[in-house]
Symmetry: C2
Subunit: 213 residues, 2 copies
């Protein structure tokens, strides 16, 4: 489909709709750096550690980035693959007292930049597009506040992060950065988990303006 056809057929839909510019995958340079320390623990050990953390710090807040690029005229989401199995959005847990935007910039720098100390704050953190709540550390997350429970244990907030026209993305050796098409993610929670598989729907209100060089 030509840009002109897309313009004409979406013209009426553009009112009240936000547009996001996305750039070709080939505009980005992908490199690698030293492995990140990833805790090697069983699910039970993980749950145990989360419970201990909750007792000390209370609600665990995680922030994750939704980064979109263009390939074959279709939006693709950048995801990290851990140990050739689990897929994750770039992000992580906030430090006590840290703001969401600062925490997300720090996590993006540690996972996607060659700059270790998180001083590369050249990330345009946009609006929150979704939130997931977890009532304990072993079950599913819910896209609404779990009223049936006394206290939620974890909140994960997804933010749209607008990539510049080009950027160097330097990823720890034990992680892989992949660009996966929206049509491959949508409703595919078996492969990508419920949070990632919901991203195309969370972004459905945006019109992606594909900018080709």
């Amino acid at each position: 489909m030509s840009d002109r056809e897309m313009d004409s057929s979406t013209e009426q839909s553009n009112r009240n709709t936000s547009t996001v510019n996305i750039y070709p995958l080939s505009n980005y340079y992908f490199g690698s750096k030293q492995s990140l320390n990833i805790k090697d623990e069983t699910q039970a050990e993980h749950a145990q550690r989360m419970k201990a953390n909750y007792a000390t710090h209370g609600l665990r807040t995680c922030v994750e980035a939704v980064l979109v690029v263009e390939l074959h005229k279709h939006p693709h989401l950048l995801v990290l693959q851990v140990r050739n199995s689990v897929f994750k959005l770039p992000g992580g847990r906030l430090r006590p007292g840290e703001s969401e935007v600062d925490g997300l910039k720090r996590k993006l720098s540690s996972k996607l930049c060659d700059d270790e100390d998180g001083s590369d704050t050249d990330w345009e953190v946009g609006e929150c597009v979704g939130m997931w709540w977890r009532s304990d550390f072993e079950t599913l997350a819910y896209p609404y506040f779990p009223t049936s429970l006394r206290r939620p244990k974890e909140c994960t907030k997804l933010f749209l992060v607008k990539l510049p026209v080009s950027k160097r993305l330097i990823v720890p050796k034990n992680l892989k950065l992949l660009a996966v098409p929206f049509y491959g993610i949508h409703e595919n929670d078996k492969t990508y988990g419920q949070v990632i598989s919901g991203v195309p729907m969370l972004l459905s209100k945006f019109i992606f303006n594909i900018i080709e060089d």
Copy 2:
């Protein structure tokens, strides 16, 4: 859970997050009016009519309302049930040249007010929360623009409509207005279809501020 507990556990999540006030279901009066003319047609007849309309008018744009009330301290979505089977959000197709907001107000007046001519425009149409694209009139909708297709045939836009503290809702006799809990809708596309079952996720970025009298 008391309001105070909710305040404290969500305190850190409130930054960068929009709050939406919702009111108890009992604040709204539900009445009925004359049946609405619903086309009695088979799926094939429906597809045929849609194709003919597309040939004449091009892309079909539908606007639908997401209306939320409180019951048992949990958000509930207002849905219309047609013939004790299909569930739909209140809304419908735009007239040629009609704006999305005007069209949605007209549809809300015809389906939820005793005022037939759509002059009750007392509806606060908020932001677009999601969009679904259909490439033909028989298949599934997608939450992204279907690049593989030459022209999409239908676009459905969902808008958050903020209900006032109380309102009379007058529904045609052949439709039923139901308040269904988010936990019953989420991932339940078998009962509610893909558009409605996705609503809790589309609204996950909002904190619902439950206002009790």
